[in-house]
Symmetry: none
Subunit: 226 residues, 4 copies
DNA sequence: AATGAATGAGAGTTCATTCAT
DNA sequence: GATGAATGAACTCTCATTCAT
């Protein structure tokens, strides 16, 4: 921005901005509060059971305030999913998009995914029980599987089969992690990723390579809600 | 039976038995009617959405009659699942239990499963959306995977990993079949089973063997409800 | 009955009588079973709460059978009250009607009444909570109080006042006996009768006389129900 | 309060307070409306018969509004009883607590009680049919009877006997007043109190003293509901 | 924006009553 | 007479939604 411009009538501008920002922040903060609480609620009760009361009780807001932001629980669910998708992008996708090799990228993506599932129970629960339900589709993995098949490093009947196996197994693994929390301390997560890679037809050497890389820290993103 | 005994007060005995039998039959039939209708309803709406009205409308029974058999929709869901499990046992398990080779048995079981998913839309929808939810556990596959690992024909990190991949992928495949009905006419179902078998570490020859056998007819069992 | 008469054509008569008696007995027995069970049920739950299911469950009869005898719970309640009133007449009234002195008769009647209340919990509970509700009115006590006033042995403002005090106190005593079962072993019952007699204005000597008589055994009447 | 402080952001403060106060008042009034209507309904139909519809029809509130305040009719009954007990304290207890002589106090209390029963039909009906049912216990009378026995002015077998006679007779008197409204114009109420006092063993002079005092006006209390 | 009382449609549940066997 | 499955009206309870403050 042109510094000259910003200097014009700074007093008034500042005031206006301040009000706007405060207003926006408050709006944002309330919305963010609702959504973050919603993640917990949906993770615990699933996508359909929660009623508006669940959200207003956990957040402490008034009934009417809820309606200022969402007109029903479905809308809140959708917002929570979107928020989570952005979160995912920040947390995982950004870590692996620097990798050029699609096979390695797919492998590292899965490793980060299960790592996050281990580390963030609410996330895991939400994704396993709610998100899949809504039939979310991730394009990244599908594209990587296609590229892996083209390069010959993956050999599975079709990219769709590979995707179904990848996603189906990941979900099943998350369900198992939720049911048997003790597994988080074992190498189960590595083993499940290994199983998927075998299902995709990778060579043993490739699998060893994928597991030879250290795992990036998963950033806990602090988001602002639009 | 001693004919002399049967002659003792035959009138009363007959009356009592008759009433009892008639009553039981009527009970059974009504219960069966509700459960079979419930399968359709749950398949369409999922496990939570249906309300009692949905069942009484589709069966034509009175509101109170529903409560003569089930005290809430959850109980009906459970009964329906149990009924389906028995149905499954009749339909699939009995077909494959004659096979000695556990690897072949596992493969044929999966082939029959996806075949049924293709053939019976309601079954597929119910199993995909409802049954898995309840965390149903099939012991047969787990046992076969264990045996396959022991014999060296399967090579996957653990039986649990193998089971998670098998079940997770099967479910994902069912979801895809429901979303893309056109796939039923392709070889997608064979390909997905092939993918799973590769994930379990079978040799290509074994896979070919598994697909070389013809598929038994899936019997449509007529059941009586306890 | 003349034994000669009974000997006339005994075979046929016996048959006819037998059938009739058996039929009547069965009817009677079923009705009696319901009423005797009803006494317990009403005693426990009060007059309004019980539902038909309570009676058919406790008696083991079928739903329809109930309606062969009573068309609703109110009718059963009424029948139970009538049955109890007859029972009371057999048990108490017959014991005291031989006494000529109305004051003594009233006193002995009350002593027997509280004695029965101590001995028969269900009777006590039924009478306290159900019977009074219906505003039952016993003429015997009222007449005796009137006669006692006329003879000068009772001195209370009016027979109605005396009756209200007698009955009100008796009921309250029954309620206390139900709440504090330990009192049954004390002389509370005598004391409460003494209090009533004092309220009716008797002399101390009269009271002593009343308590000097031994109490007749309360017969447990076995009734047949019409 | 510091006037400076009160000037700080008066708008917001005022608004918040205003809302809160308005809300509370509205709440209170609605609750009071329901309870006062409930007194009528319970008095007419007894404690068990009324259904929620009875209350929402008579008050004109919506079905859901009822549930904002009470979760079932039993809770409303309990609240009504509590409200009535407070009412009683205001109406009667406060009138007699200035009297030192326990015998006189007990007598005046009873006179006020039957006076209220005559004057307030709904109160009488509610107390007679509902309140006693719940086994309400008034400590005041029990204490006064004890003191009267200790001073030698009451002579009855025990304080409990005296209490049972007092309360039992009062209730019976209320029932009679409801059934025979004409009695309200007679001296029945004085006579019944006299009968009770005789039952407690008072001298005739004491009874005359008790009736020599004029009866205080029974205040019709206007209550606020917590 | 925030509040929360009021609303009433809709879902759940009970239970008296009927009736074919 | 006895049986008990079926019925549906009456009742209870929940919860999304509105709106004055």
């Amino acid at each position: 921005m042109n510094p000259k411009e910003s200097a014009v009538s700074p007093g008034k501008k500042a005031t206006v901005n301040h009000r706007t920002v405060v207003g926006k922040n408050r709006r944002s903060r309330t919305k963010a509060r609702i959504i973050e609480a919603a993640l917990q609620v949906f993770a615990e009760k699933g996508p359909d059971a929660p009623v508006i009361d669940d959200f207003i009780k956990i957040t402490g807001i008034a009934r009417g305030t809820f309606y200022n932001y969402f007109s029903n629980t479905a809308e809140l669910l959708s917002a929570t999913s979107t928020w989570l998708a952005d979160d995912l992008a920040d947390a995982i996708e950004s870590s692996i998009q620097v990798i050029d090799d699609p096979v390695l990228r797919h492998g590292m993506g899965m490793r980060l995914w299960v790592e996050k599932a281990k580390a963030d129970k609410a996330w895991c629960s939400f994704v396993a029980s709610v998100w899949f339900q809504g039939g979310f589709a991730l394009d990244g993995p599908l594209r990587d599987i296609r590229l892996g098949i083209k390069s010959g490093e993956f050999s599975c009947p079709s990219a769709e089969c590979g995707w179904d196996m990848t996603m189906g197994t990941m979900r099943q693994a998350m369900i198992r992690l939720l049911k048997e929390p003790g597994l988080a301390k074992t190498d189960y997560t590595d083993r499940i990723v290994e199983t998927i890679l075998q299902g995709l037809g990778t060579s043993e050497e490739k699998r060893e390579e994928i597991f030879s890389y250290p795992l990036a820290e998963i950033p806990r993103p602090t988001k602002t809600i639009a």
